[in-house]
């Protein structure tokens, strides 16, 4: 897989804050690469140094083998950008914004189809200032795709979107990837990174905490899995303690939490209960997720 973005020893500080401190990574062609981290972690600074919108203090950044600080014009043609914060003139209409921004590029997507995919067709004649927050966000995503970019950058992809629109956006991003584009996104939502990204970079205080596939990050923790069950009127002794996958059992009234490990952990527990003819309701398995990874690696919750 060829490398489209190469970052080595990236360093950037503002007056008294070090925003990005010695960050190195590569993004491969055709992958969805996600950068997660709490507020102020340095995500926007990193992504905008790659886009050529901010100048780094030191380190190396290459996009398509070109330094964005040297030839931004060449790069701008081949990438799409959704900024975390930006705006359009208040009275420009959705359709007008699409054709105006399209006119800045040589390669152009079908703007009608883009608006359709982003659920903005009904709003095509609406002024920018009359759009809701989520609609503005979707318009900016459409604008980022207007030139059929080889690499598209989304800074805070789904901020301001409701859960339904968020899920639709995940589908869209997967489609974009499947069409052969590379996606670089930042997010606050660990769930989003886990569901969407091929690889995730966890950033904290301007430094890389971890970088791998979500599965590898989670399994590297070797954390316990949990099964939560409701067992009405079950005997005091459960036939589970002897199972090799089970570590321990917590019980409060009818509610039982079984802690264990292993790839297939739920199966043997259920089978054992069925064999002992114990009725169970509401089976729920809880997997460790990226939030747990962040907690384990930094000792802090993502949101504090």
């Amino acid at each position: 897989m060829s490398v489209v973005i190469e970052v080595a020893g990236l360093y950037k500080s503002y007056e008294d804050v070090v925003a990005v401190d010695d960050v190195s990574f590569e993004v491969h062609e055709g992958e969805i690469f996600g950068m997660v981290g709490p507020n102020g972690a340095g995500k926007t600074t990193t992504i905008e140094c790659i886009e050529g919108l901010r100048q780094r203090d030191s380190g190396k950044v290459n996009l398509f083998g070109v330094d964005p600080d040297v030839s931004r014009a060449e790069i701008a043609e081949r990438i799409g950008i959704q900024l975390q914060e930006s705006a359009l003139p208040a009275r420009i209409r959705v359709q007008e914004a699409m054709s105006l921004f399209g006119s800045f590029y040589t390669s152009r997507a079908d703007s009608g189809e883009l608006l359709d995919r982003l659920g903005l067709t009904e709003k095509r004649s609406a002024a920018f200032s009359k759009l809701s927050g989520g609609q503005k966000q979707r318009l900016f995503i459409a604008l980022a795709l207007v030139n059929q970019p080889e690499v598209v950058f989304f800074d805070e992809l789904t901020t301001g979107l409701d859960p339904q629109a968020r899920r639709a956006m995940w589908d869209l991003v997967c489609q974009i990837r499947d069409e052969g584009h590379t996606v670089f996104l930042t997010t606050h939502f660990m769930e989003e990174a886990e569901r969407l990204c091929d690889r995730v970079l966890i950033l904290d205080h301007g430094k890389i905490v971890a970088l791998d596939t979500p599965e590898a990050l989670i399994s590297s923790l070797e954390m316990e899995k949990r099964i939560v069950l409701t067992l009405p009127g079950a005997p005091q002794e459960l036939p589970l303690s002897d199972l090799p996958q089970v570590n321990r059992i917590e019980r409060s009234g009818d509610r039982v939490v079984v802690y264990g490990h292993g790839e297939r952990f739920a199966g043997p527990v259920i089978t054992a209960l069925e064999r002992a003819e114990i009725d169970f309701l509401d089976v729920r398995t809880e997997q460790p997720n990226l939030d747990d990874v962040f907690l384990a690696l930094t000792g802090r919750e993502m949101r504090e």
Partner: protein, 247 residues
Amino acid sequence: MRGLLQLTIMSFKLYLREPIATFFTLAFPPLLVLLFGAMYGNDPDPMYGGYGTMDITMPAYTALILGTIGLLGIPITTSGYRELGVLRRFRATPMRPLTYIAADLLTNLTMTLLGMAILIGVGWALYRVRFEGQVLSVFVAVVFSGLTMFAVGYLIASLASGARTAQVIGMVIFYPMMFLSGASVPLEVMPEGVRRISDFLPLTHVVTLLRGLWFGEGWGEHLTEVFILGAIFVVGAGLAARFFRWE
């Protein structure tokens, strides 16, 4: 300059959708003609070299339009766009910064010419106002004066932190000029002391240059104005280029 035409057309449309800016550029000067025309008429007056009040009002109000756009319109719009992040969004595309400036200048010059056309149309229809210069010469003078005023406007936009500040700076500079430069009230009716202040106001030189060429004088008779305005343009544009920020 890809996108220049589209961007110019779009900014022109956006300008027309902005009721206040459009009012002051297109409707306000003709309204002044209606008001002051009713009060003073257009009879030849020796004080104005044999021209009528409405005759000399045409180049004067043209200067008024240039001042309004350059010292209020451009600073407020530009720093507002920067404050909101509109300029940031443009900068994320391959469009060159120069294309943005060029489209903005073209839009504002076109609006000026449109304002002039309506102004002269009303003046002609009501008072048969006189024009004795060369169209091309006056056109060049309008563009030249426009670039000077617009350069100052960009400088204000570069120095102001946001739209509110830009508006305040623009008004502080523009309002004294509006009354003391001859752009709205002829300097001939002003006391001597006021006229001495007027010499220091850039817009006074715009009024003098336009009025001279309007009534058939040559560029040679207005080298002072050309020099002063040229100097303001060079300094204004230079400083604006130095201090302009996209975010």
